[in-house]
Structures are given as C-alpha cells and as structure tokens.
Amino acid sequence: MKSKSSKGEKVIVIPCSGIGKAFGSISRDATYEVVESLRKDATQTVCLALLVSGDEGSVKLVRNNKCITVDGCPLQCAEKNVKLAGGNLAGSLRVVDVYKENRHLKPRGVTFLDLDGQQMALALAEKIANRVDDLRREQ
C-alpha cells in the first residue's frame, strides 16, 4: 500500500453502498457516522459510481489522499475500484468481519437499517475511525 498523503489532507472513506443486502446499507451508514460525526474534520467520502465512471475529480481525490474502503459483500467493489482507479488504498474493511465479532446481531433491514443494523454500523464506524487515526499518526 502506498502512503502519499501529507499532513492536513483528508482520508477518503468509500463504502460499496450495495443496494441488495443489509451489509451494503451498513457499509454506507458506517461511513456517514465517520465522515459526519466521529472524524468529521479528517475524512470525507466520494461517490463510488462516479469514481468507477472515471470522473476526473474523483480519480484525482483517491490518488492524492489515503483511502479506506468499506465493502458489504465478497465482490469487494469498493476496494477493487479504488485499486483500478490507481487510488491510494490505505485500508480495506469488510462488514462481514464486524459481523463475525457480533454474531448476536442479526441485521435485516435494507431500505432502513433496523436496530441490529444500526449497532453493527456503529461498531464498523469505530473500526474505520481507528484506522483513520492510525493513518493520521503515520503522516
């Protein structure tokens, strides 16, 4: 993994936003928890579809900043597409890993997360935030 970011640059958190299953919604909600609350000033997100479409600004953003991807299924669209765009991938998290640590949670809602889904998103957000802190310390 490359590490090109300089002090003051933001970490880009990119969820897969998978639309078919709860884990995709969890990836998205966890990302918002980080970029809007936990590490608001240190992070931002980018539209994955726009990045995959080759949007110049989005490509530049992921190349010039450290990125953390958050994937909901084994296809790992977020991680693969950041790599394909030549992005500076500095962390890759999967919802399933948080699920393995929280097997008592059974998220079912996709359109709107149920309580278990929200709890899993918060647990995942903590992991993302910790990774952001690690990356900021490395700078």
Partner: protein, 139 residues
C-alpha cells in the same frame, strides 16, 4: 442470475450517490419500489458492480428494460447503462424532480428527515409509474 429471471421484470438501476442527499433519496426510493410498490415486477442491480464489469448485471440490462434513477446531473446510472448495456427505457434525475416540485432545500444524506422522506416517497411513486409504463408497452 439470468437463469432465474424468466418473466417480465424491469431493472431499476440507482446511483450510489454517497456525496449528496439526492443519492440517498435515489437509493431509498428504489428500495421502496422493490420492496413495497412493485415487488413482483422489479429487480435492482448494484451500480458499482455493473460499471466495474459485472457480467450478469450487464447481461440483464441488455435483455430487460431498465429505469435509471440518478441523484444528480452527472447521471452515472444512465450514462453507465447506455455505455454497457443499451439505452434505458426511462431515466429519472432527482435534482430535476426536486426543482420541478419546488422542494425546499433537502439535508441529511444519512437519515432522511420527515420532509426528505416525503419527497423520497414521491420519487418512489414516480419510479413505479415509469415501471408501469414500461410494462404496458412490453412486446
């Protein structure tokens, strides 16, 4: 996936739109159509997977009519569908609808407030109308 779909189905392809509230509206409205309004007539496709080369997803969008739902005028869903699978039967852009409907400024891309949820339900109704129209003209 293709082998499982033998009846008349319309594919709804929503942008992921992580950066803006209209992206969340697009996604939630699509889910409402799939889960509540037209569950037996519609399926969805993960746009990042589709754009990144998902074979089944592209084949589906070539063989079946699609309705694209985009949050903004960059229209990742519409442009991507046209590029890889053919012209969508119908296209919706949330920012255009919001303008036409004279909606107040919408906030919160994470948790939809009452006003944004109301707009989202209107968008879902609009998507369902487009689906009905496509099915009416199915040869």
């Amino acid at each position: 996936m293709m082998a499982e779909i033998s009846e008349k189905k319309v594919g709804i392809i929503s942008c992921s739109g992580e950066e803006c509230v209209e992206g969340t509206i697009s996604r939630v409205a699509t889910r409402l159509v799939l889960g509540k309004l037209r569950p037996d007539q519609t399926v969805t496709i993960c746009l990042p997977l589709f754009l990144a080369g998902g074979r089944d997803e592209r084949e589906f969008a070539r063989e079946y009519p699609t309705v694209t739902v985009d949050g903004c005028n960059k229209m990742c869903a519409k442009v991507g569908t046209e590029k890889y699978s053919g012209k969508p039967a119908s296209s919706i852009v949330i920012t255009d609808l919001v303008k036409d409907w004279h909606c107040p400024k919408l906030n919160s891309r994470r948790t939809l407030d009452a006003e944004t949820l109301s707009v989202t339900r209107k968008v879902a109704d609009r998507i369902a109308e487009e689906v009905d129209e496509v099915l009416r003209h199915w040869v």
